[in-house]
């Protein structure tokens, strides 16, 4: 009995001391940690985690008080409904800011909850244009959006690869959104869209639509969708003897695409990716630090997730408060050097310095090229 009492006392005393020493500021991260794209979700979480650990190591003072930052990681399984529930859970947990979610399909519905709760959310990887067009003051992103990527693809295809462009999309929110922007980009750069064709994200047979495309004899075929369809599609393009060049967006800009396309991928296969290649990051030591801490390589968006977390912390420091309502104005005006380069947001919450990189296929891998 006595022992328990003492133990309890010691525990309470320690807890009290910790509280007296430094306040804890919680920052949430959401991404799919289970399911299809769990590896990407983990990558994003690692990025945010590294930022928070490095800031903690340096010591963070907000409004004259020393604070300890803490990451609350959640899993949305890339599913909108789960995403909403998890968002609510973060709001319950009293986080002061959120890094996430990963894909636009979950980010857009969840953004409403954060905005209602008045908690800033910065997505490192949701590129759908709609996200920042909802007029939500609390929503930001550190990644160039689909409009930017679409116009880069459209310009690249229409000016570098040929005038006549056929566009295929997979009728998902991502694929269709990007395809519409590519369509605009092609037309805006003097190209001609010979046809818009459609498939779905479960399909394996594209022969019918490719045959139709072939009859219009385009110079370029652009696929706006994921690698699981893009790879086999490229194979079927070759099986039909189509000579057109092939471009795909960031959904296909993966090693998986190359694996699935096999021999069909060649020097006239291109892809684009929002953000900079790891080799061109502003912070040259980031990759080494990341690999040292987590023992895995950077997948895609970890640097952007790092910068999203950093933006939240920098804004809190600048405002001298971790209260969302107080530091939001600072976040809107923030400008600092992150690992990806300059970080700043425009009045909608989109990044001002969004970069898009074009890659070309070379000897079994994607290599950044000058568009």
């Amino acid at each position: 009995m006595n022992k328990t009492l003492i133990a309890f006392g010691v525990f309470a005393c320690c807890a009290g001391m910790a509280q007296a020493q430094e306040a804890v500021v919680k920052i949430g991260h959401v991404g799919p940690l289970t399911g299809n794209i769990a590896h990407m979700g983990k990558d994003n979480e690692n990025g945010a985690r590294l930022a928070i650990e490095e800031y903690n190591a340096k010591g963070v003072t907000i409004g004259g008080k020393k604070v300890k930052l803490e990451l609350v990681g959640e899993d949305d399984a890339a599913d909108p409904k789960t995403g909403n529930i998890v968002a609510q859970r973060l709001v319950d947990a009293g986080v002061k800011g959120v890094v996430g979610h990963l894909n636009s399909g979950t980010t857009i519905p969840a953004s409403r909850i954060y905005n209602q709760a008045g908690i800033p959310m910065i997505s490192p990887s949701s590129t759908n244009v709609t996200l920042t067009q909802q007029g939500f003051p609390y929503i930001f992103r550190t990644m160039a959006n689909d409009a930017q990527q679409g116009s880069v693809i459209g310009k690249f295809a229409a000016t570098k690869l040929g005038k006549k462009v056929a566009i295929i999309d997979d009728r998902t929110s991502y694929g269709q959104g990007l395809a519409d922007e590519i369509d605009k980009g092609v037309k805006g750069n003097g190209g001609q869209v010979t046809s818009r064709e459609f498939t779905n994200n479960q399909a394996t047979d594209f022969m019918a639509i490719l045959t139709k495309i072939k009859s219009q004899n385009p110079d370029v075929i652009v696929y706006s969708g994921m690698d699981a369809q893009g790879g086999p599609m490229l194979k079927q393009i070759k099986q039909l003897g189509i000579k057109a060049k092939f471009v795909t967006g960031d959904g296909g800009c993966t090693p998986e695409f190359i694996r699935l396309a096999g021999d069909a991928a060649n020097e006239t296969t291109y892809c684009t990716q929002a953000g900079l290649p790891v080799s061109q990051l502003a912070d040259k030591t980031f990759k080494a630090r990341f690999v040292k801490r987590f023992g895995v390589d950077i997948q895609n968006y970890a640097p952007y997730s790092y910068d999203a977390a950093a933006a939240l912390i920098e804004a809190m420091k600048a405002a001298g408060s971790s209260e969302p309502a107080k530091y939001l104005p600072a976040l809107k005006k923030i400008h600092f050097k992150g690992v990806t380069g300059d970080v700043a947001f425009d009045d909608k919450g989109d990044t001002k310095y969004g970069a898009i990189t074009v890659y070309g296929y070379k000897a079994g891998a994607w290599e950044p090229i000058k568009p």
């Binding site: 289970t34 909108p80 909403n84 529930i85 609510q88 399909g105 857009i108 009728r171 998902t172 959104g177």
Partner: protein, 367 residues
């Protein structure tokens, strides 16, 4: 209600009155209890109530009339999209809920009749596959009607739907009672949905014991005999389809107002199957069973997330089965095992108007 009462193991038979008040208390206090664990659980309860309504509606078609509908989610979609069209900035219309909700229900009922007419002659398996096709057709149209003229906004879905505005009180805003005490919007939604569920249960209960309900039971048990005793099977089946669809349409509208965002991916075939599993699991034709089935299966993924992940971490040091995979596994096993060993469901239906033959078949199969 009575079926729910009987579902309580010991109390139900001994003290039905006590059991009844226990259930009432539980229903009313559920969000308060959930609040102790955070708003998240209130949100989960809200969704559970929507599923209860869907399951009740599907039960009307599958459990009462014996028509297997694998495209039920289409009516939910019709209701949700009606809300999105008539109460969102998409077309710039902001009609009040007392117009939108009945309209959604009416459209869904029409969709039910449209589906019902051609499939009237079909039975069992054919009906199942045609309704499955219907569900997919509706989803594919919603996914593609943004081109060449934008109607549904395609896969992007429609955002910023109006919330439920009860005569000036926007339910998605917290109600400030005193400075420190306020009613959470999630809780308001809970009671609103509860009201709808209770209303549905009363209507469905009345229907079940009415002439119509008995007609359905007769068609389900033997269509030829039903025809022979003068039941207009065609009208009865159409009525089942359209009434079932109505409940789907209403819950679709509620879903739209609650979520504020609709997109075609919420209305996949998997959702239809999930609702069917709720009905089958709880007990086809039994209102209490269906409610319990729907609540249990819609809480399942969250419970799994809360339990399965830590347990696996402890046992193996890593997560082997995602909660989502586990859920699929349990759902499919539930469907198979229930049919093998307890085809009448968790809480078998009352023999009088319900499915006695299922219970018998279950026993027969075991012997």
């Amino acid at each position: 209600m009575n079926e729910l009462v009987e579902a309580i193991p010991w109390l139900g038979h001994r003290h039905p009155k006590a059991a009844r008040s226990l259930i009432t208390c539980l229903m009313l206090l559920a969000p308060m209890i959930a609040l102790l664990f955070g708003n998240t659980w209130v949100r989960i309860l809200d969704f559970a109530l929507l599923y209860v309504m869907l399951a009740l509606g599907l039960n009307l078609v599958v459990g009462f009339a014996g028509l297997l509908d694998l495209g039920y989610i289409a009516f939910y979609a019709v209701g949700a999209y009606t809300w999105a069209f008539l109460a969102s900035p998409h077309f710039g219309l902001h009609l009040p809920f007392y117009l939108v909700l009945p309209l959604g229900a009416a459209f869904a009922a029409c969709a039910g009749i449209i589906l019902g007419f051609p499939v009237l002659r079909l039975r069992g398996d054919y009906l199942a596959i045609v309704t499955l096709g219907f569900g997919e057709i509706v989803r594919i149209f919603m996914n593609n009607l943004n081109y060449p003229v934008n109607i549904t906004n395609g896969p992007q879905g429609i955002n910023m739907l109006d919330s439920m505005n009860l005569f000036g009180w926007d339910i998605s805003h917290a109600v400030q009672i005193t400075d420190t005490f306020r009613i959470n919007p999630l809780v308001s939604f809970y009671y609103l949905f509860l009201l709808f569920v209770v209303g549905s249960v009363i209507v469905i209960r009345r229907l079940q014991i009415s002439r119509i309900g008995r007609g359905w039971a007769a068609i389900r048990d033997d269509e030829l005999a039903a025809k022979a005793i003068g039941i207009n099977t065609r009208n009865m089946k159409l009525l089942a389809f359209s009434l079932g669809a109505t409940f789907g349409g209403v819950s679709g509208g509620l879903f739209g107002s609650f979520q504020g965002f609709v997109s075609p991916e919420s209305f996949s075939l998997m959702e239809s199957i999930a609702i069917l599993t709720m009905v089958v699991f709880g007990g086809m034709g039994n209102i209490g069973g269906v409610i319990i089935g729907a609540v249990a299966l819609s809480l399942l993924p969250e419970v799994l997330r809360g339990i399965a992940l830590p347990v696996q971490q402890q046992l193996f040091g890593k997560v082997i089965l995602d909660p989502e995979v586990l859920r699929m596994l349990l759902l499919s096993l539930a469907m198979i095992l229930m049919m093998q060993f307890r085809p009448a469901g968790l809480i078998p239906a009352n023999a009088r108007y319900s499915r006695p033959e299922l219970a018998r078949a279950g026993k027969g199969a075991q012997s």
